[in-house]
């Protein structure tokens, strides 16, 4: 079985200084990996690098082409569009997932015709997570997915995640709370914290080149 994601000796940088070094892990289909570590360690940076939004300093990220979907702090919703329109747009961009099924799964059916600006923060988040379902992508890269969700919604989300894993998907999640996913592996990033001032063959940015 080929891994959904294999990360080898990865170094990532924020603000021209590397924050994590030597990160190595594999993610098999059907598994979830929860990233742990204190604030500012570089969890978001790592996820953005995995998503391809940010260049890595060194190391290798291996994944099948076009297999990942990223969900960050912002949900990417358009306030003027309705819930269904927002979701349909992302479904079309990613090549057509089942919008109705996603609405049902995230308990948004009753809100489908409501403009997104009338949603509460938690409802917006649920819509943002429903977007993952319509992408049809196997690997979910989630940055604090449960922010502003109530406990019922967290449980709902854990359900959705479990069925995604059950279909051979995978997820890398940065979170501080207990998702209620006992089967998920945890990766503590603290040991990979970059040591400041250690000479590197290739500077991560101006701040390393001139320090």
């Amino acid at each position: 079985m080929t891994a959904l994601l294999s990360v080898r000796d990865l170094s990532v940088a924020r603000g021209g200084l590397r924050v994590l070094e030597g990160v190595t892990f594999d993610l098999q289909p059907g598994r979830a990996l929860i990233l742990r570590g204190p604030n500012g360690l570089g969890k978001t940076t790592l996820l953005r690098c995995l998503a391809g939004l940010q260049p890595v300093v060194s190391g290798r990220i291996g994944m099948p082409a076009e297999s990942h979907a990223y969900a960050g702090h912002a949900d990417g919703l358009k306030p003027a569009l309705t819930v269904a329109e927002n979701l349909r747009f992302w479904a079309q961009v990613f090549g057509g997932g089942a919008v109705d099924a996603a609405l049902d799964r995230m308990n948004l059916r009753a809100l489908a015709a409501r403009p997104a600006h009338m949603l509460s923060a938690g409802q917006k988040r649920r819509l943002g997570l429903a977007r993952l379902l319509v992408t049809g992508r196997a690997l979910w890269l989630l940055d604090e997915p449960t922010v502003s969700l109530d406990s019922a919604s967290v449980a709902l989300f854990a359900d959705v995640l479990r069925s995604h894993l059950g279909q051979g998907g995978g997820a890398v999640i940065a979170t501080h709370i207990d998702l209620g996913l006992p089967e998920a592996e945890e990766l503590d990033l603290s040991p990979f914290r970059a040591i400041p001032g250690r000479p590197a063959d290739k500077p991560a940015g101006f701040n390393e080149a001139f320090a």
């Binding site: 998503a51 939004l53 990223y70 990417g76 358009k78 003027a80 569009l81 329109e85 961009v93």
Partner: protein, 218 residues
Amino acid sequence: MIALLIRDLRLAVRAGGGFGLALAFFLITCTLVPFGVGPEGGTLSRIAPGILWVGALLSCLLSLDRIFALDHEDGSLDLLATSPLPLEGVVAIKALAHWLVTGLPLALAAPIFGLLLHLPGPAYVTLVLSLLIGTPALSMLGAFGAAVTVGLRRGGLLLSLLVLPLYIPTLIFGAEAVRRSAAAAETTTPLVLLAAITLFTLALVPFAAAAALRVNLR
């Protein structure tokens, strides 16, 4: 790609101001000019080609910062960048949407503003034609400026400073075509050169804009 275009157009219509704002600004510009230079018809008709082109250019500039700023704020840009769409295509579609809600209405409404400024008779067709040919370049260069300044505080002011010099060749050939046709001279040369600049811009600038966008997303 089509979905993105439809979404952007729908947002422009729903949020209001998209179509109207640039036209209203154009109208105000054309109203202010006679107050500045005097109501004398001969003077106005002599400077009308230039005023109409400069007015259209400034109206275009007005809404440029919205091309990427809103998508950047609500996180859509991150998601679009991780989507199957190439970022160059996203830039091109966004510029096209901007053109459809500003450049195209400006070009079609320009003859009415031409009347206000006593534009000489033969120049009306050239005016619409030159704006139709030239404004796509304005939108695309604007998208480049918007990509460079997205996420910056006080980006709007900087955007004008970066984009306006890039507009010079388009303005020169566009206004020259209208001026020539107002003087009943041949207009093929400036129109062809204008089209060349637009095609050149459309072919190359999306790559520069996407590169700038990638820098601003990380």
